[in-house]
């Protein structure tokens, strides 16, 4: 068994525990150790990515108990992609936080690392209940992070976020109960095998459970009508937290990809493509809602928060259609949009830090400091987010457009995506020109200097949209291979045959 | 099972049940909070104590070894019931719950 597989979980866990012990250590030490942990995590995920690229499934059986009895981690291309994407994002968000956002609360780094741990478990686990536990780990850490930073603005949205997710968790457990009560198992691969044997009432129970699970994932993913907790919560979170949260909705999307392709995929007999007919129209409406929200946004952070919703709709539409090309396209776009949105949250924070009391509001204010740098970063981010050439967002959207070939779905997806892009351009150009160009005379009190950390972190995340373009070919090859792997259910099921340690030969 | 044990068990069970019920009747029937306080503090405690004892005898008689947990529970109940009553009485006096007509003396100001 390959012990690298637990590295992305153990590294942040140990880092987090260390932080819990070090509450009263000097901040420089805590920062160094925390950042070191994130770097180590990134290294480990890259190792996993390289391993996963051979296209095989790797299994890690906790306690050396074979599946379906014990909990297993499964590494495949999709998991590796999510891990690396998250680790890269985390590294820069973390770097940004060291610019001062981590002050005022000794638990920040610990919570940050625990959140990564939860995310990584979610991406790797092959067990339905363990996925619930992973969700809880990442959620509870996110609750803490969301409230980080003092002030009263984030309390109410935080409360909404927490309560809704608690209900979501309850629904998750009910779904697990329904599914277990019929299939008697929790391992995803085993479930995929067992759902084929169902009929009658049992089938309907699993169907209902599966649909409720979809609601849970849709809540995490912020799919309409379950998306309204997001904009205010994200807009008011501390910038590096908001940046990290860019990946949170993606967990829901990941879960839909993983669970629905494996258990309720094309080959699932009576349960094939469960719920996908709901998902497609909702995704398009979500996208539309996101565009409306971004047009009406009155601060940059709110604008970016609605961009998260736009991304969700954009991602789930092709996933709902379920073609291999569509999934590959969605994965490509996923990578792009996650980093871009995160970068834009950081840009918005830079704006807020340099504009005195106007913060990041889309209003006229005295000319901000460091305008050139920040406006260039915003421009790049906005172009990538709106999906204009030549940045990564364009290629993502292009892949998505290209992945549907005919029929009414194509008409709908194209119209909504393209018209949505148009209005997004309007929203960004309006916001950008007001914030960066339209100035009045006035004095801004000396802002905090833009530290190297802040510049580097923001620049790097925004710059990733260029990197993605530069490596668009290889990345697309990878996502193609990932989509193909995801569609090949039979290969995943072979993990059930993996020998345990001591059983080889 | 030893018939003597059986009789003891049955007797203790019924005694415990009766006391528990009487305590509950007291709680339900008596006219004010302070009189109601008497029911649970002893009748119920005693009733549960009797049932515990029957359990001890039952399992001991079955040869499952000496059951001490029940004794521990009983001791614990006897230790805590007066404190519960005390602190509840204090709360009641604080709130100023009404005493029944004809009560001699007065509760203290809290």
């Amino acid at each position: 068994m390959n012990h690298w597989l637990i590295a992305p979980i153990l590294i942040p866990l140990l880092g987090g525990v260390l932080q819990a012990f070090m509450g009263y250590a000097p901040i420089s030490l805590r920062r160094t150790l925390a950042l070191g942990t994130t770097v180590l995590l990134l290294v480990s995920t890259i190792v996993l990515l390289v391993m996963a690229d051979d296209g095989s499934y790797r299994l890690y059986a906790f306690g050396n108990w074979e599946p379906p009895f014990g909990i297993v981690l499964v590494l495949d291309r999709l998991a590796a992609l999510m891990l690396v994407m998250t680790a890269v994002l985390a590294l820069f968000a973390h770097l940004f936080s060291i610019g001062g956002a981590d002050e005022g609360n000794r638990q920040f780094h610990g919570l940050f690392l625990f959140q990564l741990m939860g995310l990584n478990i979610a991406f790797m686990t092959g067990d339905l209940f363990n996925l619930f536990v992973a969700f809880e780990v990442l959620l509870i850490a996110s609750y803490g992070l969301l409230m980080h930073g003092g002030g009263t603005a984030r309390t109410v949205p935080g409360l909404h976020y927490v309560v809704l997710n608690l209900v979501g968790s309850a629904v998750f457990l009910i779904s697990v109960g329904m599914i277990y009560s019929v299939t008697g198992t929790l391992n995803m691969a085993d479930l995929a095998v067992r759902v084929l044997l169902l009929s009658g009432e049992e089938l309907e129970l699993v169907k209902a459970g599966g649909m409720m699970l979809l609601v849970v994932f849709a809540l995490k993913a912020a799919l309409l009508p379950l998306c309204f907790w997001l904009p205010k919560a994200y807009a008011r979170a501390t910038a590096p937290v908001a940046a990290l949260f860019a990946v949170m909705t993606k967990v829901g999307i990941y879960a839909i990809l993983r669970v629905y392709l494996l258990i309720f995929g094309d080959d699932a007999g009576a349960l094939a493509n469960l719920g996908m007919d709901w998902l497609f129209p909702l995704a398009l409406i979500t996208l539309t809602m996101g565009v409306v929200g971004s047009l009406g946004a009155q601060s940059l952070k709110t604008l970016v928060a609605w961009q998260v919703i736009i991304s969700v709709g954009t991602l789930l539409a092709p996933i709902a259609l379920g073609s291999e090309e569509g999934i590959s396209a969605a994965l490509f776009y996923l990578l792009s949009t996650t980093w871009t949105v995160a970068g834009l949250f950081l840009v918005a924070e830079l704006v807020a830090s340099q504009r005195g009391s106007a913060l990041d509001k889309i209003v006229t204010a005295p000319r901000m400091r460091n305008r050139t740098l920040i406006s260039v970063l915003f421009l790049i981010g906005a172009v990538a987010a709106a999906g204009l050439p030549p940045l990564s967002g364009f290629f993502g959207k292009l892949l998505i457009l290209n992945s549907v070939t005919s029929g009414p779905e194509m008409a709908w997806l194209w119209s909504v995506l393209i018209i949505g892009s148009f209005f997004t351009i309007i929203a960004y150009s309006r916001a950008g020109s007001i914030v960066f160009w339209r100035t009045v005379d006035g004095h801004i009190e000396e802002p905090k200097p833009l530290g190297g950390n802040l510049r580097a972190a923001t620049g790097a995340l925004i710059g990733l949209s260029l990197v993605i373009v530069a490596f668009a070919g290889p990345i697309n090859e990878y996502t193609d291979a990932t989509a193909a792997q995801l569609q090949n259910r039979a290969a995943y099921l072979e993990i059930l045959q993996t020998p345990m340690v001591g059983e080889e030969n | 099972m030893n018939p003597f044990a059986e009789y003891a068990i049955a007797f203790l069970l019924l005694l415990g049940g009766a006391f528990t019920l009487i305590g509950a009747i007291g709680l339900a029937r008596l006219p004010d909070f302070f009189t109601r306080l008497h029911g649970p503090t002893k009748a119920t405690t005693l009733g549960v104590g009797a049932i515990m004892l029957s359990s001890v005898i039952y399992f001991t008689a079955r040869g499952d070894g000496i059951g001490i947990s029940e004794v521990l529970i009983t001791v614990f109940l006897f230790m805590t019931a007066p404190v519960s009553a005390n602190i509840l009485a204090k709360a009641a006096m604080h709130i100023g719950v009404k005493t029944m007509d004809g009560t001699e003396g007065k509760p203290w100001e809290q």
Partner: protein, 89 residues
């Protein structure tokens, strides 16, 4: 004989619990409700013990012990809340 006595006892304790619930709902004051709850906890101990005797197992004795401990702490906390407001200060 034990079985009959057991059933009668269970019936009595269950009835007692019902009476406790009656008092709990009836009130009229908060201390009455807490008192009823406390009594209900003690009745629950009896029920668990009776369950253990019925099933012939001692697996549930520790649950009874825990009810005793937890019921007490719960009652104390509630009573303290009623007169002091802050349970831990």
């Amino acid at each position: 004989m034990i079985t009959i006595a057991l059933y009668i006892t269970i019936a009595m304790v269950t009835l007692a619990a019902l009476l406790n619930v009656y008092r709990l709902i009836r009130g009229p004051d908060a201390p009455d409700r807490v008192l009823a709850l406390d009594t209900l906890y003690i009745n629950a101990i009896a029920l668990i013990i009776l369950l253990g005797i019925t099933l012939g197992t001692r697996m549930y004795l520790e649950s009874a012990l825990l009810i005793a401990v937890m019921g007490f702490v719960g009652t104390v906390a509630m009573a303290k809340y009623l007169k002091r407001g802050s349970v831990i200060e």
